[in-house]
Subunit: 405 residues, 4 copies
C-alpha cells in the first residue's frame, strides 16, 4: 500500500466536484481517507479538503493522482515540474501530460505559472516565456515536455455553482426539443450585448443549413451590424450563400417560393464557376458581381474568416483552405481571445472549433438534432448551452431581438 | 392462364399512377398486356388505358385486381356488388372489401353509388340510404357487407399532378429539416385563409410540446380569432396549458425565464388538483379561476374538442375521455367535414386522426423529428404536407402571418 | 428571517446529493448554514449533515424544506404528520404532499411508517393499515390526506454510488448510439439471471416495432422459457404479431423476404377480423387457429398481460382494454412486485409504466431514437439503463445469450 | 412560341420516368404535346415517346430541354456537340454541361461516344481518346468543354423497374427504423457473394462509430477474409481502432466491460503518440507493436486505403492525408471500378464518396439516424439501399453470414 497527500480548495460542494473526485478514486481501484474537511458553511465560502490517496502500487497511485488533476485536485506541497526532451519530432515522451481545456498552472522554477494557449489534447512545452500548450504534431526534437501531473493545478469552471452570478447555463441540464427557443434567443442576445459592451469577440461557426432554412439574411445582418468578430465554416456554406445570391435557390430549392426547381441543384456548380471566372469571391465583389449576402458582408467588413475544406467539397472556392493543417491554424487564430462561440448546425466544424477553445469561453450550439446538441454541449462546464431548434427560425429570432437595440 | 379486362381513366401519366399500376401487377406475380392506351396528349387531357390482366389462377387474378382498385383501376363493364350478411357481431365475411381513405364508389342496384363516411380500414355495409364505411367492431349480425373488389371504383387524389392548380403540396417530396419554415408558415397561412373564405373547417391536433416550446399563446390566439373549428388532443396538453396559466411553468420549467424550478414538475399535479377542486375546467372558468389560455379559449368559444385519454395520463382531467371507443367517436365527429387538419407535435393523436380522415382533406404535420413527419405525411396524396421544425417557433410564425390580416 | 433545522444521513458525498441539496436551497431563494458535517472518511462510511435552513418568510422556508424531502433531507426531530380530510371526491386538500417514486416514510402516531403502493404523483392517505399512495382520482370524501412535508423521510436510491456493489448502471451517464449493444445485452442478461435466481419478476413493455424489426420470435422464446413474468403493450403489438403468424407480414412487409407486398397493410385488418370470427385470441387458440408466436406464448403460459388501447387503434382486439382507468389498474397490478422492467420501443406504454414503478425497480429502455431513451432513462437513479440500438437485433442478441444457459 | 422535337426510348412507364418528364416540363413553365407514343405492351417491351416541347422563348426551350437530358430524353435527330475552349484555368464557359452520375453519351464527330470517368457535377472535356468528366478545378486553359445539352444522351438506371431481375433495391422505398436488419444483412451478403464471384470490388467507407459500437473486429474479419477491395475513412476510425488495440477502449469506454474509464478519452492521444514514436502505423506494425485489428488487416493485406483528414482531427496520424485535393484524388482512385460501396455510419466521407461514384454502382448505407440514411440513399436509382440500424450489431450480423460460407 502506497499513499499520497492531495488537496483541493474551492467550491467543492455546490459544484458537484466532490462527488466526482471521490467516485473517480474508487472506480480506478484506489482508496481514500478524508483527512481534513473544512466545509464552506455558507454558499460564499470555499471548502478545503485534504485526501490521503491510497493504492496498491505506485503506478496506480500516480495514474489516479494524475486523473484527479483534471478536477482541480493537486498534490499537497509543490514539487517542481519534470520536463523531458523530445527525441523524435511529433513524439512526446512517455507519461507526457495531456491537457484539458481548463485553465492550467504548472509549478516550475519555484512558482506556479499559467499555461499559455490552453486547448485540449495538447502537450505542455516549457518555452522561453513560460509553459504553453503545443499540439503533438508541432513538437520538435529538443522541446522540453511536461511529464506527470504532480506539479499541475487545474481550475475547472464551476458547474452550476449556486454562488455564481452568471446565469448563462440557463438550460444546461436539459437539452431537449421541448423547450422555448424564443426565450433562448432572448437570453443569448442578452449575453451577446454584454460581451459586446466588454469588447469581447463573438465567433460564429455555421453550416449550409443556415442558408437552406432561410437564416442567411439574418446572419448577414448580424455580421453587418458588427456582432460577429470571426466567421468559421466550410466550403458549402459559402457556395450555398452564393447560389442564393446569384440564383435565389439553395440546393436548387427556390428560397422565395419553396419550390424545388428541376436540376436546380446544378446551380451550386454554376455559382462555383462564376467565382472561378473572377478568380475569387473577393475579385467578384470588386467587379460588382457579388453585392449582398453573408459572404459579401463577411468579406466587406473585413471580418476574419476561414472556410475549411473537406473530402465532400465541390469546387472548392478559391478562398477555401484545403490543407487541414493550415485550416486548423487559421481556425485557432480566429478562436483566440473570443468570449463566445455560436455553433450553428454544423457538427464537423463545431467539434473542430471546440477542440481548440478553452473551457471558459461561452459556447452556444443550435441544431435540430438533439444528439448533435448533446454531443457539442457536453463540455463539463456551465459555459455551454444547447438549443434544439430550427436554426433558420432561431437565427431570425436572434437577429430580431438584437436589431431592436 | 386466366384473364380479366380492366380500365383506368384519369391523369394516369403525370400522377405517376401508371408506373405504380404496372409494377404492382408484376410484383404480385401476375402479368399484363396494354390493349389500348389513349394518351392524354396535352396536360389537360385525361388518358384512358385498358389492360388485359393475366394470372396463373383465379385467386391471383382476383386478388391482384382487388389491389388495383386502390389506384383507381376498375373492372371493364360493371357487375353488381356482392353483399354477404354478417353472422357474428364484429366479424366480417371472408373476402370482405377493406377500405382506403380515398373517395370510393360501389356499383350496386344497377348504378355507381358513393360510399359514405369514407375512412381507412373499414368494411362497406349496404345501408338504407346507400353504401357506407363501418368499422369492423360496429358490424352487427345481419349487416350486408361488400365482398370482393370487382364492383368498386376508387378515386385516389392526384399526386403532384402538373395540371393541378392547387399548389398545396409545395414541399411534399422533400421532407427535411433543411427547409425554410417561415416560408412554409406563409404558404399554410394562405391555404387557411382560402379555406376560411370557403367556409371549410380547420381542425387542430396538438400535443403538449406546443406548450413546452412556447406556442400555447399563439395557438390560443388562433382559436380566439376563429381560425380553428375543432380541437383534438390528449390529457397532457390541457394539463400543461393549465399548469402554465396557474403557475407559469410547463413541466416545471418557468416559461418566462427558462429556469427549471425544483420540484416544479409537481405543478402539473397541482393544476390537476385545482380542476378537481372545481369539478371541471368548465366550472373553474365559471368560478373565474381560469381566465386565459388555450383551453380557456377552446371552451369559451365553444370550439368542439376532445381530449383522448391514454395509459400514461396523470389525473385525468374530468373533461378527458378515458374510454377509447367513445374518444374515437368524438374525434370522428369533429374531423367530419373538415378541410384541413393541422397536426402539431403529437404522433399518437395524429395517427388516430389520420385513420379517420379522407384522403382529400389537407393535412399539415409539424414536428422536430423528421421520422415522425415522414410517417404522418405519407398518405400517398398531394394533400399532405410535412414541416420539420420547432413547433413553438413555427406556430408563432403562423400566428404572426395570420394576425396581420 | 425564519429558520429550520434539517438533517441528512447517508452517502451524501459520493452520491452527488450534497451538491443537489445545497444548490436547490440557493435556487429557491433561501439560504443555509452547515451547522455540522460528519464526513464519511472512507467510502463505506455514511456522512451526516445538519443544515440550518434560512428564508425570508415562512412560506419560502416550508416550501423549500418540502422540496428537500425528495432528496432525503428531513426535519431534525420528528413531528407528527398532519392529515386533512378530503371534502370533495378526487380533490386533495391544499398543500397536500405529492409523492415521488422513491421509498418514503411518514412519521405518524409516534413512529416512522413506510408508505405502501409507492408511485409518482400520488397523495398519501392514512389507511387502516398505514399510509399509502392513492391517486388523486381515487381520493374519496373523508380520506385523511397527508399535508406538508415536515414529517416525511424519503430514501432516494443512491446514484452511481462508489460503494455500490451493484454495477447495473454501467452506462447510465452516457446514453448514446455510439455504444456496444452486444455488451449491453450481455450485462442485462446477467441481471436477468440474477433476478430469476432471486425469484424476482421481469416485466416486458413492448411496442409493435419489436415485430417489424424481426424480434418477435426472440421475445416469444423468452416468454416460453419463463423469463417474463408480465407482458404490457398496446393493441398494435398483438395485431402485428397475429398478422405475422397468419400472413408472414408485418404492416404488409413480408418478414421472410423484406418485400413490401401491395396492399399488404390490409393484412392487419384481416388478422383482426380472424380474431373477431373466433370472438377472442383465446378462443382462436383453443380452436387451433393460432399455434405460435408472441401472443400465443403469453396466453399459453398464463403470463399476466394487459393490452392498453389508444386513440389510434384499429379493431381493437377483444382482449384489448379500451377503458384507460381499467388499463392503468391492470398495468399497476402487473408491475407490482417486479424486479425489472424491460421497455422495448414504445414510449407511450413505457411512460405509463414508469409512472407507477417505484424507483428501486431496475428499468431497461431500448429504442433506436436517442431522445426516447434519454426521456425514459431519466429517473434520477442508478436503476435505469438506456440502450440506443436496433430493437430487433438487440432482442435477438439478448435471447441468444439467455438461451445459451 | 418556339418548339423542339424530343425523343425517349426505354422503360418509360414502369420506371416512373414518364411522370417525371411530363411534370418537369409543366413546372418549368413550358408545355408539351405527345406526338407519338408506342407503349411497351408487355413488361419486356420498351416504350418510345416523341414529345413536341413548346416554350414562350428560346431560352426556356433550351433550358428545359437541357434539364430533360438527365432523364434520358434527347433531341430527335443528332446534332454535333458544341465545344468551347477554356479561357481561364478552372472556369468553364457559360452554358457548360454539368454532369450527372448516370451513364452519359455525347454525339460528336458524327457518332455517340461514351463519356469516361463518369461523376457528378463535372464538365465534359473532349480529350484525345474521347469525352471525359473533368472537375471544374482541373480545367485548364484551352480545354474544349461541352456546352449545352442538345447532343447529350443520358441513361439513368431504371428505378424499381418491374422487369428487373435484380432485386437489390429490396427496401428502397421505405427507409425506416422499423425494419428487420437481420434480413437486410442476409440480402447484402448475397449481393457481396455475387460481386465477389464476378470479380467486382467492394469498397467500405467507415466512421469511428463502427469501433465504438463493437463492430471493428467483424469489419477486420471481412478485410482479412478478402471481402473488401478498398477502405475509405478519416483519421478518427484509425485512431479509435488503434486506441482499442492498445488500451481496449474506444473514446475512453472499455469495450470489454462498457465502463467509462476516467480520463480514458486521453487514450486516443496516447494511441496517436505511440504511432508518432514509430513514425507511422506501418513502421509500428513492422516493429511488432501493432498486431491485430482493422487498420492492421487493411495495411497487412495491402488493401488500398485512404484516411481523409478534417478540421476536427487530433494528431493526425502520419498516414492521414490532410490535403483535401490529394484525398479526393485518392478516394476517386479507390472507388474506380468498384461494384459496391458499403457506407458505415459516416455521413461526411460517404457524401464525399457518393459524389465520385457512378449511379450504376450499388451503394449500401447503414446508420442509426434515419435522416442520414435518407440523405445518402437518395440517389434516384435502384442501386441504393438504406438500412436504419445499429451499425455494430449490423456489421456483426453481416460478418456472421459471410463467415458461414
Amino acid at each position: 500500500m502506497v499513499t499520497k497527500n492531495l488537496i483541493h480548495t474551492g467550491h467543492l460542494i455546490d459544484s458537484g466536484l466532490l462527488t466526482v473526485i471521490l467516485n473517480l478514486i474508487i472506480e480506478e481501484g484506489a482508496d481514500y481517507e478524508i483527512t481534513r474537511f473544512d466545509v464552506g458553511k455558507t454558499p460564499d465560502n470555499e471548502s478545503t479538503m485534504r485526501i490521503l490517496l491510497k493504492a496498491g502500487n505506485d503506478d496506480l497511485l500516480e495514474s489516479t493522482a494524475a486523473k484527479l488533476t483534471t478536477y482541480g485536485v493537486s498534490a499537497l506541497g509543490e514539487s517542481d515540474a519534470e520536463w523531458i526532451k523530445v527525441i523524435r519530432d511529433k513524439a512526446a515522451p512517455d507519461g507526457f501530460y495531456s491537457t484539458t481545456n481548463h485553465k492550467t498552472e504548472v509549478f516550475t522554477d519555484g512558482r506556479w505559472r499559467l499555461v499559455a494557449n490552453q486547448r485540449m489534447d495538447a502537450a505542455v512545452v516549457k518555452q522561453h516565456d513560460g509553459p504553453a500548450c503545443v499540439k503533438l504534431r508541432d513538437l520538435r526534437s529538443g522541446d522540453p515536455v511536461l511529464v506527470g501531473a504532480s506539479s499541475v493545478r487545474v481550475h475547472p469552471p464551476e458547474v452550476g455553482g449556486s454562488g455564481s452570478a452568471d446565469s448563462f447555463a440557463f438550460m444546461n441540464n436539459n437539452i431537449s426539443s421541448e423547450r422555448n427557443a424564443t426565450l433562448s434567443a432572448e437570453k443569448i442576445a442578452a449575453q451577446m450585448r454584454e460581451l459586446r459592451t466588454k469588447g469581447e469577440k463573438i465567433v460564429v461557426v455555421a453550416g449550409p443549413v443556415v442558408v437552406h432554412t432561410g437564416g442567411a439574411d439574418a446572419l448577414a445582418a448580424l455580421v453587418r451590424d458588427g456582432w460577429i468578430g470571426g466567421f468559421l465554416g466550410g466550403n458549402a456554406i459559402a457556395v450555398h450563400d452564393l447560389e442564393y445570391r446569384l440564383f435565389g435557390t439553395s440546393l436548387g430549392v427556390d428560397l422565395a417560393t419553396g419550390r424545388t426547381t428541376h436540376e436546380g441543384h446544378k446551380n451550386h456548380m454554376m455559382a462555383i464557376n462564376a467565382v472561378y471566372s473572377h478568380g475569387s469571391m473577393n475579385a467578384m465583389m470588386k467587379a460588382g458581381d457579388l453585392k449582398e449576402g453573408l459572404m459579401y458582408e463577411v468579406i466587406r467588413t473585413g471580418t476574419p474568416y476561414c472556410l475549411a475544406g473537406s473530402i465532400r467539397d465541390d469546387g472548392p472556392l478559391p478562398e477555401t483552405e484545403m490543407d487541414m493543417i493550415e485550416a486548423q491554424k487559421a481556425y485557432a487564430d480566429i478562436v483566440e481571445g473570443s468570449g463566445m462561440i455560436l455553433m450553428l448546425s454544423t457538427m464537423l466544424h463545431s467539434i473542430g472549433t471546440g477542440n481548440m477553445t478553452p473551457s471558459w469561453v461561452k459556447t452556444v450550439c443550435v441544431d435540430i438534432n438533439p444528439a448533435v446538441v448533446t454531443k457539442l454541449s457536453d463540455r463539463g462546464s456551465a459555459q455551454a448551452v444547447g438549443v434544439v431548434s430550427d436554426v433558420g427560425l432561431f437565427i431570425r429570432a436572434l437577429a430580431r431581438v438584437l436589431s431592436a437595440d
